[in-house]
């Protein structure tokens, strides 16, 4: 697993308080990991900070799963 994926996973695990093995490629933050909509906003804020990038609101809306987040950050960083 890439370094970016590890760092994203760490943020998700810490923020949502879920088991690491639940955070799979297709795991949806809301449907599978118990996030509410404000959690997803917070996750995006945390990604922005961790990776020093800006994630615009329309892009943030497309980040639904762990895999989406990793892909977006790989392309942005």
């Amino acid at each position: 697993m890439s370094d970016i994926a590890d760092r994203v996973k760490k943020i998700v695990v810490e923020h949502l308080g879920v088991e690491e093995d639940k955070v799979t490629e297709n795991a949806s933050f809301i449907d599978d990991l118990g996030a509410d909509s404000l959690d997803t906003v917070e996750l995006v804020m945390a990604f922005e900070e961790e990776f020093g990038i800006e994630i615009p609101d329309d892009a943030a809306e497309t980040i639904q799963t762990f895999g989406d987040a990793v892909k977006f950050i790989q392309n942005a960083a």
Binding site: D36, L38, E42, M45
Partner: protein, 245 residues
């Protein structure tokens, strides 16, 4: 009780009678205060009076860019923004039949839109900190209406709706959003009323007296405190009984 040591509070309209008293009260409880307003001189005077833990942050709330920049400036000056008090407000009173678009827009811009922008700028850090207090100063007339103040009443009622919605969104993050609705409060503005006008007003107030800025400031201290952590989406009416809602 009501200790605010270590908390950083931004107060808009701190050059006015009520805003200055709010800043004094928060400061007296130990908070660092950011004093915002359009006129810098009275803010400086207040900062000098308060001494340490007071920062002057001038801002024209009708200027959208300046409003966007204010929370950042506040965090830079104070180190954090834990308590936001949207107190600033303007009036452009006129009978509805004569209400011009610009009188409507100016009041909505400053009293409602600027408050929204400041909430938006402040809430991010509060979410991270898992603690925050937003206190919007509305008015009794936002609930009751008032002839000649359709624009002002609409803005104040709008602020109540905004506060309740935001309160629900951020409640689980340790952030409360409340309103304080003053009734008739003795300020420079009410000094201009004639004795007859004052008598007319006081006839509608069961307590038979105008409130003072201290009455409002005390309510702010309460809602800003950790002790008020279970109170959110509420409007605290401070009006001597003139409207019991």
């Amino acid at each position: 009780m009501f200790d605010l040591s270590g908390k950083c509070a931004l107060v808009t309209g701190a050059s006015g009678g009520i805003g200055a008293e709010i800043a004094r009260a928060l400061h007296a409880r130990g908070a660092v205060v950011g004093l915002s307003g359009t006129r810098e001189a009275p803010l400086r005077e207040l900062a000098d009076e308060l001494g340490e833990r007071a920062h002057v942050l001038p801002c024209d709330l009708s200027d959208a860019e300046a409003v966007e920049a204010l929370p950042k400036a506040a965090i830079e000056a104070m180190g954090a923004l834990d308590i936001l008090v949207n107190n600033a407000g303007i009036t452009r009173d006129t009978l509805f039949m004569r209400l011009k678009d610009e009188d409507w827009q100016a009041v909505i811009d400053v009293n409602l839109t600027a408050a929204m922008r400041l909430c938006r700028g402040a809430v991010r850090g509060m979410i991270k900190a898992r603690w925050g207090r937003i206190i919007n100063i509305t008015s009794v007339v936002g609930t009751t209406g008032n002839p000649g103040q359709a624009n002002y009443c609409a803005a104040k009622a709008g602020l109540v709706g905004l506060s309740k919605s935001l309160a629900q969104e951020v409640a689980a993050r340790g952030i409360t959003v409340n309103c304080i609705a003053p009734g008739f409060i003795a300020t420079a503005m009410t000094d201009k009323l004639t004795d007859d006008q004052k008598a007319g007003i006081l006839g509608a107030v069961p307590m038979g007296a105008m409130g003072t800025p201290v009455d409002i400031a005390a309510a702010v201290v309460y809602l800003a405190s950790s002790e008020a952590g279970y109170v959110t989406g509420a409007t605290l009416h401070v009006n001597g009984g003139m409207a019991m809602v």
